[in-house]
């Protein structure tokens, strides 16, 4: 099925796509899995906020403070609507990494407090008998916080392995057992492109009474996602990958779970009462939003969400599916090129990693860059996944609503040129 998007029209909304790089090469931006570009509507919204309503939110008695608070809470509502959640269950973070840390710290903080006699929800208390389950395709952001949690509590870290064709090995779901207190899994891998059956993993987590976390960084920007449908307790993602500003991320939580979680970052705006020797905390989401938040960024993100709603997330997904099929086919036609991850477009997103025989990924990327094609090289913050597939690194193409088949053609031509240059054909 062809793309339903008018890419040429969309590109007009992204000023950066009109620039040239490396001299006079038109920019071909294929690095949206790292961060997306921003439409003018987002930049305008942020600027308008600063020029008209900037003030500290939830604090002042003056009109600017009212307007700023309104802007911030309206952004929360827009984002909630976008993912099918309630505004009260959406927490603003600085990025997805903070969201995942917020989740992991709920456990370490509860464990430490319990050991000093404070009342906490026992679901968040870990001992050496407990386990934490993740997968072998996690971004470092969904790996290291759990490693750290285990280092702090003595709990055991387990991971579900991968099949040779880049999928979760679901036979290993049994690693989630009665010892398991939390299961955290990526919805769509940023290195393999795989879309995981997270509902199945979350259901398994709930069978054993564990809390379920989903890293939706690469799914929410690229396909319609209803947070309720994922079956998770906590879902986190970033704003900068979905046309929004840098410096803002999101955490959605099931109300009952958010409510049971101890605070993470503490300070102003997250309190109920404060005395020198003790304090009580506000209900979620305020409990998790200490300090002056990223108000302008929330306003920019609301504009991004509205932009995506106008395009339509079904159309976005269909468009990317089309590009992904095209790119997978094109890469597989090139001799000496191997895709790391699923080779067909079923349950798969548009981030496509590959290696080229005889040329290091870094050099492939450099030669593509020289032709104006911006891709990412390296381990993509998923180093253990690279090891699983015996590659030191990969080159990755990743597209979004402003890319079309001609961008893929440019990348394919660049790979061929690199092969010629390095004499590996």
């Amino acid at each position: 099925m062809a793309s339903p998007l008018d890419v040429q029209r969309i590109r007009k909304d992204f000023p950066i796509l009109g620039r040239t790089v490396r001299g006079d090469r038109p920019l071909v931006y294929l690095d949206s899995a790292a961060t997306s570009q921003k439409p003018t509507a987002v930049l305008d919204a942020e600027r308008a906020y600063y020029e008209n309503s900037n003030a500290a939110v939830h604090r002042g008695a003056h009109q600017l403070a009212e307007e700023a608070t309104d802007a911030y809470e309206s952004a929360r509502a827009a984002i909630a609507r976008f993912v099918g959640g309630r505004p009260e269950d959406i927490v603003f973070t600085k990025n997805a990494t903070e969201g995942l840390n917020l989740a992991a710290y709920a456990f370490s903080n509860a464990t430490a407090k319990a050991s000093h006699g404070h009342a906490v929800d026992p679901r968040f208390v870990l001992t050496e008998k407990d386990s934490v389950v993740i997968t072998e395709m996690e971004h470092h952001a969904n790996l290291i916080p759990w490693q750290e949690l285990c280092a702090k509590t003595g709990a055991q870290l387990r991971w579900i392995g991968l099949t040779d064709d880049g999928r979760l090995d679901l036979d290993q779901l049994s690693l989630i057992d009665d010892t398991t207190k939390v299961v955290s899994v990526v919805h769509q891998s940023n290195i393999l492109g795989t879309v995981n059956p997270v509902r199945r993993v979350m259901d398994r987590a709930h069978e054993v009474g564990a809390i379920g976390v989903v890293d939706a960084c690469q799914s929410i920007p690229h396909m319609p996602v209803d947070v309720e449908d994922l079956g998770a307790d906590l879902v986190t993602w970033s704003g900068h990958k979905m046309l929004g500003p840098t410096g803002i991320g999101l955490l959605w939580g099931r109300a009952e779970i958010l409510d049971a979680m101890p605070p993470f970052l503490t300070g102003g705006s997250m309190i109920e009462t404060v005395h020198m020797d003790h304090s009580t905390f506000a209900p979620p989401p305020q409990r998790f939003e200490a300090g002056v938040p990223m108000v302008a960024q929330s306003v920019g993100l609301e504009a991004a969400v509205r932009y995506l709603e106008d395009v339509g997330m079904e159309s976005v997904a269909q468009h990317e599916h089309d590009i992904t099929e095209y790119a997978l086919a094109g890469l597989q036609e090139l001799p000496g090129v191997r895709i790391i991850g699923p080779t067909d477009a079923v349950d798969r997103g548009s981030a496509i990693s590959f290696v080229v025989d005889g040329i290091h990924p870094h050099d492939v990327g450099q030669l593509l860059d020289d032709r104006g094609v911006a891709v990412r090289v390296g381990h993509h913050c998923a180093w253990p996944t690279c090891r699983r597939y015996n590659v030191p690194a990969t080159t990755r193409l990743s597209s979004y609503i402003y890319n079309d088949r001609s961008d893929i053609d440019a990348a394919l031509a660049g790979i061929r040129a690199a092969q010629e240059f390095f004499g590996v054909l």
């Binding site: 290091h360 870094h362 050099d363 020289d370 390296g378 381990h379 030191p392 690194a393």
Partner: protein, 156 residues
Amino acid sequence: MSDNVEALYQEIILDHYKHPRGATPLTDAQGESFQVNPTCGDEVTVGVRLDDAGHVHVGYEGQGCSISQASASVMSELLEGESVEHMAEAERAFLDMMHSKGAGEPNEDVLGDGIAFAGVSKYPARIKCALLPWMALQDARLKAGIDVDKAATSEI
């Protein structure tokens, strides 16, 4: 292909990449250092030994991009059997070149094939690649107790 990238991938670099010299670990190293570039996963282990006659011996092993691997090869070829003074001078000259952003004339007498890396200095993300073996060398020789004039090396 742009002039800049032609300058980056000098023939000599590609040649060292495809035919690395001295790419074996030093079995009797007095100091050894493993260095990794966390952004791309390039790795190199450099070993160093100073013999009784005052000659430096360098061995290495690694994996990574053309720039990091060629840099290791050029470095080991350049330093093998040389004096500590020469090593110090080469370290300093290589560093200066990398931070030059393409300005200045690298000293071929000191750097030999190393001058081929002058073009790397225009690509900030690749400077780390070229420096990786030199960082490992510096760490390895410190472990081996081979100290040189501070000014030469403290700025990697």
